[in-house]
């Protein structure tokens, strides 16, 4: 869990916020209304945030010798 939190901390505040809002179950329009982003920009931000999170998590595990297979 600590590694996931560390991976999250590598994200920008905006990416982290939108990723957590989506994970909480909000729809795109709701996330847009909450953050002031355009609805079309929510997908772009989410795509970037997901990739950065997984990359950061994989980097942490590869650095400790853990198998960090990337799908």
């Amino acid at each position: 869990m600590a590694s996931v939190q560390d991976a999250l901390n590598t994200l920008t505040p905006r990416d982290r916020e939108i990723l957590l809002l989506w994970d909480a179950g909000l729809s795109y329009p709701e996330i847009a209304a909450q953050t002031g982003l355009a609805v079309g920009a929510v997908g772009t931000t989410l795509a970037r945030a997901r990739r950065r999170l997984v990359d950061a998590h994989d980097r942490q595990h590869s650095g400790t010798g853990t198998d960090a297979a990337h799908s």
Partner: protein, 358 residues
């Protein structure tokens, strides 16, 4: 052929696109294997992100099952019932003990047991005995009781020439040691106190008040008395009334005397509720008044000496516990009240000084 942008595939999988956009993407995916691969990669990334973020979520609290909740409620109810049963049992035990004790007291023969040894019962018994003795004494030929009852309310005031009932037996009797007669005293005192506290009539009072109740507390006086207003009494006296400045006047009584100024009795109330009376009149009248009053007073000390023999302007202690008199020439100033003798002495000196200065 244009491939689908990655962010649009994210939005497509997140159901963030309109129906039209979804139809376009699905029609493209059906014909584009590259975009299908990208879509599968994004779906895996999405699932992995969800799995990673799920580890951050707080541990889910699984609510207890209905069975366990019902079992817990049943236990709480049964515990409450047990407490109630215990309380009811304890209360019934206390009630039973109390009833048993009461029954033992009620059905216990009189004259025996610890109940009859209490001071209250002694007082009741002594009072009952004194009542019986009083009745016996009133009957002709009745044998005198060895214990004279300390009847605080004398049914009749004895004539001055009649022999006074002996006080010594009263003081030595056991009845004197109990406080019960106080109750009877207060019951007979009530009408007099009401009269004392009655509102003064503002008119010069044509009313004649006959204080024929021989009180034992010494607050009333024999003879024909007129209850007067302050102004009326002052006009009749021709001089300032004897009183203590600053205390409310509750009653003024005037008794005419032959060939001289009338006897004035000014009753004033202290903050404690006690009534003190200031008497001013001829020395013979006032001393006689005080003497008669003292003789009828069961609780007071006998008049010590003849106050008329005191020299002018000398203070005479007629009754150390209830009255104080001061004779000036042929006039006498007296004060009565249930106050210490020092207080009465200070009051009478103050009144005398004020009356002289006016």
């Amino acid at each position: 052929m244009r491939h689908i942008p990655e962010e649009e595939l994210h939005a497509y999988l997140d159901q963030g696109l309109s129906r039209t956009q979804c139809v376009e993407i699905e029609s493209h995916l059906a014909a584009c294997s590259s975009c299908q691969a990208t879509r599968d990669g994004i779906a895996a990334l999405r699932d992995r992100t969800t799995a990673l973020l799920a580890t951050l979520a707080p541990p889910r609290t699984i609510p207890p099952s209905f069975e366990s909740l019902r079992r817990r409620a049943d236990e709480a109810v049964s515990a409450r019932r047990r407490r109630l049963h215990l309380l009811a049992w304890a209360a019934s035990l206390v009630l039973a003990v109390g009833l048993g004790w009461s029954a033992s007291v009620i059905f216990r023969p009189r004259g025996g047991g610890s109940f009859a040894e209490g001071p209250a019962s002694r007082a009741v018994q002594a009072h009952t005995a004194s009542r019986l003795d009083t009745l016996r004494a009133g009957q002709p030929g009745a044998a005198p009781s060895p214990i004279r009852p300390a009847e605080p309310t004398q049914p009749e005031r004895p004539a001055p020439s009649a022999p006074q009932p002996s006080r010594e037996p009263r003081r030595t009797s056991a009845v004197r040691s109990v406080a019960y007669p106080t109750h009877a005293d207060s019951t007979t005192r009530r009408p007099d106190r009401e009269a004392v506290l009655s509102v003064l009539n503002t008119q010069p009072a044509p009313e004649l008040t006959k204080l024929d109740s021989p009180r034992s507390s010494g607050e009333d006086f024999d003879g024909m008395w007129r209850t007067m207003s302050w102004d009326g009494a002052q006009a009749e006296a021709g001089k300032p009334l004897p009183h203590i400045d600053g205390l409310p006047v509750v009653q003024i009584q005037v008794q005419n005397a032959e060939g001289t100024r009338p006897v004035m009795v000014v009753a004033q109330q202290l903050a404690s509720g006690q009534v003190i009376r200031t008497i001013e009149g001829s020395a013979a009248e006032v001393s006689q008044l005080l003497a008669r009053r003292t003789m009828t007073d069961v609780d007071s000390v006998q008049l010590r000496g003849d106050s008329s023999t005191h020299t002018a302007a000398g203070a005479a202690a007629i009754d150390p516990s209830h009255s104080m008199a001061m004779q000036v020439g042929d006039r006498m100033l007296a004060i009565t009240g249930d106050l210490p003798s020092d207080s009465l002495r200070a009051m009478i000196r103050r009144i005398n000084a004020e009356m002289r200065s006016k």
